[in-house]
């Protein structure tokens, strides 16, 4: 179990996470819901180690590999989509970037384009594939997804869901999304941050 206890985080004196506690399973798919400003993204950032908490503790991560798909795509604009994914992959990764592209419904030619030449939905999928590529063959990785379905049509969102479902059994996927239709197909466990404050 991953235990989050009494987590506190403030920005400019304004508390975003105020003695927040939550227990997450070691694996499976978890969806964090809640109104804007409830600290969902902040919690993901703390879990990813990108920000320190002001107080409280998180136990159970135990050095697991964590991939973070940010709310913004954050793709390197001067290299191709394929290179963006390839750069995040560990050395000797078995999964070919082209296979990942195909699974997400993207053409090999799309992989040769730079982000500026791709649509918003295509960039979103490249950012998602970068996270998947980063985890590589890790059996018990943690995938943090911040609004992964933004800009995706129903078919593309379903492909992304299919890839999430195909991750190794011991993977924990934590996602934040305002789009509940694709999330429902994931049979995720829901945690409302409105109730947990």
């Amino acid at each position: 179990m991953i235990r989050i206890e009494n987590l506190q985080k403030s920005y400019d004196g304004k508390p975003v996470l105020d003695h927040f506690s939550l227990t997450l399973p070691d694996s499976g798919i978890v969806c964090l819901t809640g109104a804007s400003g409830r600290g969902k993204t902040t919690l993901l950032r703390i879990l990813a180690g990108l920000e320190p908490a002001d107080g409280g503790s998180i136990t159970g991560l135990g050095g697991r590999k964590i991939a973070f798909v940010f709310q913004e795509d954050r793709l390197l604009p001067w290299i191709t989509a394929e290179q963006n994914i390839h750069l995040a992959q560990p050395h000797g990764a078995k999964c070919e970037v082209r296979d990942l592209l195909a699974q997400a419904g993207l053409e090999p030619a799309d992989g040769q384009k730079r982000p500026e030449q791709l649509s918003g939905g295509q960039c979103r999928r490249i950012a998602f594939l970068r996270g998947i590529g980063f985890l590589g063959d890790t059996p018990d990785g943690i995938l943090l997804l911040d609004e992964p379905f933004n800009g995706l049509d129903a078919a593309a969102a379903q492909r992304v869901c299919q890839m999430i479902r195909s991750l190794p059994n011991r993977t924990l996927t934590i996602l934040v999304s305002h789009q509940l239709t694709p999330v429902q197909s994931l049979e995720a466990k829901f945690f409302s941050m409105d109730d947990l404050r």
Binding site: F68, F70, R74, L76, W78, I79, L87, A88
Partner: protein
């Protein structure tokens, strides 16, 4: 086409003035230039000045870049070096040259002046460039555990390339101006600056125009060369990545 128009205007102005001592015509300048390029001493001056001035510019590019990187990383270095760089930036080049005449040999003066004038500009450009690197991309690189080399090559270098290219372009121009000014005051042997000085002393206006044109051409040539090298480097980095795949 525009250049031709300016040449015609220059020719017309020279004809209107009617005195070569006041305004040399383009044809007179061209004839004198043909004579000059046939003399070995012309090439000695060109190569010596190029060597000195470009040494100063290259050193300024290297040290300015290094300083910008270190000052971005360590705030105490920023606090220490920033006033010095601002003083150098604001000091007239002539003051430095006269001071340097006491400190160093005249043959090194061109390099020294070019270095001093270009250094703060390179530093300022690169420092601004480093501060402007996209914070979201830096955070992404941290999340995906990019090594230092990977960050340098795929994040910092492409982000800083426009700032570095601008520093090179402007720096070469400034370097030539400062370097030649230093040579005119220091009069090192075999230098364009000394040739300019002699043209002034002996009122050789065609020589003055010729050497000025040579300086402008050399400055432009090195600017174009720097731009070409930077473009080639950028494409090579991309091609290497492509080949690795």
């Amino acid at each position: 086409m525009v250049a031709l128009l300016w040449l015609l205007l220059w020719q017309a102005a020279a004809m209107a003035v009617g005195q070569e001592l006041l305004l040399v015509s383009p044809m007179t300048m061209l004839r004198r230039l043909v004579q000059l390029v046939r003399q070995p001493v012309f090439w000695q001056a060109v190569f010596s000045s190029c060597g000195r001035i470009m040494t100063g510019v290259l050193l300024a590019l290297a040290i300015g870049t290094l300083l910008a990187a270190l000052m971005s990383r360590f705030s105490f270095l920023y606090a220490f070096f920033r006033p010095a760089l601002q003083v150098i930036k604001a000091t007239p080049v002539a003051s430095f040259i006269i001071l340097a005449l006491v400190w160093i040999k005249s043959y090194a003066l061109g390099a020294f002046a070019a270095f001093l004038m270009v250094l703060p500009m390179v530093w300022a450009n690169l420092y601004e460039g480093i501060a402007a690197v996209d914070k979201n991309l830096l955070e992404m690189a941290k999340a995906y555990r990019f090594s230092f080399g990977k960050k340098l090559r795929y994040l910092y270098l492409p982000s800083l390339m426009p700032y570095f290219a601008a520093a090179c372009g402007t720096g070469i121009g400034i370097g030539w101006k400062a370097g030649i000014a230093a040579e005119v005051l220091g009069l090192p042997k075999n230098s364009i600056g000394k040739a300019l000085y002699n043209a002034k002393i002996y009122l050789e206006m065609p020589d003055l125009f010729c050497w000025t044109a040579v300086i402008i051409l050399l400055s432009l040539l090195f600017e174009k060369l720097a731009a070409w090298i930077l473009r080639a480097l950028t494409s090579r980095l991309a091609a290497e990545k492509e080949a690795q795949r």
